[in-house]
């Protein structure tokens, strides 16, 4: 879990900046291994970007609905039919490892 954060109140609130421990946690959530010493430079880079995007808090968005579609469009209905499949070998063709028709991964059950 990420550290608890005081929710911004009104337009003047500042979001928290990240520290090395937070960077390591974000990397863990994103499943990106950081080599020793890699987290520290990221603290400055990410804080630079986060500090800059924080200016969005100035905008009064009360009563504004968040955008969900840029161009109005409705989802289409389609018949519930199987229209694809039967291509196992194609699906597996790019796998780094596959065995007897399955993707192969490191052992996950002790």
């Amino acid at each position: 879990m990420l550290p608890a954060l005081a929710q911004p109140e009104g337009s003047q609130a500042r979001l928290m900046s990240v520290d090395a421990a937070t960077v390591i946690r974000i990397a863990k959530l994103a499943r990106i291994k950081l080599a020793p010493g890699e987290a520290e430079p990221l603290v400055g880079e990410l804080n630079g970007i986060l500090g800059w995007i924080e200016q969005l808090a100035e905008v009064d968005t009360s009563g504004v609905a968040p955008m969900t579609a840029v161009i109005p469009n409705t989802l289409r209905w389609r018949a519930d039919e199987v229209t694809d499949g039967g291509v196992r070998d194609k699906v597996l063709a790019n796998a780094p490892a596959s065995e007897i028709g399955f993707f192969a991964v490191p052992k996950v059950i002790e």
């Binding site: 863990k28 630079g48 161009i71």
Partner: protein
Amino acid sequence: MNELNGLTIAAMRDGLRARTFSAVELAEVHIAAVEAARVLNAFIVETPDHARAAAVAADAALADGSARPLAGIPLGIKDLFATAGVQTTAGSKILEGFVPPYESTVTAKLFGDGAGMLGKLNMDQFAMGSSNETSAFGGVISPWRAQGSNRPLVPGGSSGGSAAAVAAGLCAGATGTDTGGSIRQPAAFTGISGIKPTYGRCSRWGVVAFASSLDQAGPMARDVRDCAILLRSMAGFDAKDATSLDVAVPDFEAALTGDLRGVRVGVPREYRLDGMDARVAAVWDEGLRWLRDAGAETVEVSLPHTKYALPAYYIIAPAEASSNLARYDGVRYGLRVAPDGGSLDAMYEATRAAGFGPEVKRRIMIGTYVLSAGYYDAYYLQAQKVRALIAQDFAAAWEHCDVLLTPTAPSAAFSPGDKADPLEMYLNDVFTVPSSLAGLPAMSVPAGLSAGGLPLGLQVIGRPLDEAGVLNAGYALERAAGSTARPDRWW
């Protein structure tokens, strides 16, 4: 540039139909040009056999009268489009060796219309970049150089390979994709034209996803007419893309009259930034004069939330990217790095650490952070609300005008390494990002040269689905600007 690979697509089409030259001749000239320009690093993979096969088929079709609109036109394809049987990497090591067993909708439509493929074009990794420097296969070098200088320049990004290849005459036209300016900014940097159509115009099926609510494919070519020709083939409804628009595709080329009588051109006052480059400002003013000469009326408009577009974009795009790029896990395709005796998680972490470049990691981490518990409302939800306000700004502007004219980029091309700070690089997209957030069609047209003799572009933004209006305004600019400057060959 040899005379055949300097022609526009329209001129190639005419020459092929008049049998002035054959499609095979045209393909061979381009294949040789690609080989001779390897120093530009524009292609990740060359596919001369694809181009030759399409040329042979085109010559047969031209002879028996069954030729399709792009018969024998040799194109370059950005490496973000899945191409059946041809490596597709999105410029990343994590997809090195990935050979799609399927064809993207856009490339299938182009090839179905008779075009051939010369190769897969280099790009910023996962389309994240404005200079091509984030490609895992080395950056593309622009065919342009400043007057009296040998210093290499970037072609812009992310569709930098496409831009460099078109400008250098390596291909007749190219596909690009645009999330926040990735077609328009490199087009401006290399003196070519490129259009990002309305979101949903071109199918995203088979295009490696970066930020799904923003990604759009579009053509890049040496003039506006060629963009119109290519866009007609690329666009159209596709049931395989849930956001594809089920609307008719007009004949964009037929709309090119250059007559702007009755057209109102908006000039957004917020785009006139403090400390704006004097040449960029002068070219903008000149462009407005040209549009008035073509019959248009110019009117100042306001897009009050413009300054918040970039920060909103740098929340929304990384958030979507962090989700989209979760698929690169070392299991189904691409790179796998599995530490000896390590767990499945250790494999994921090692694979992604080794496969993604620094900018991609940075954006995945920003996206992961802004979507994480406790931060979602403050960052992501607020950004989506600001995005709605930005779209409303444009909607309000359309009450007063039909198209908008702005610069495409704040400067001409720079050199690799000049913008080492990520934030400084992001600011390059200041003029292109707002229309991306609003899903609007927008194009860049070459309009002049910088003090150093490098191309500068102007951007035309239009109403949803009014690509025809955007292209026609671009056409009027192009006609007034006169013959387009081309880079002197040094490679």
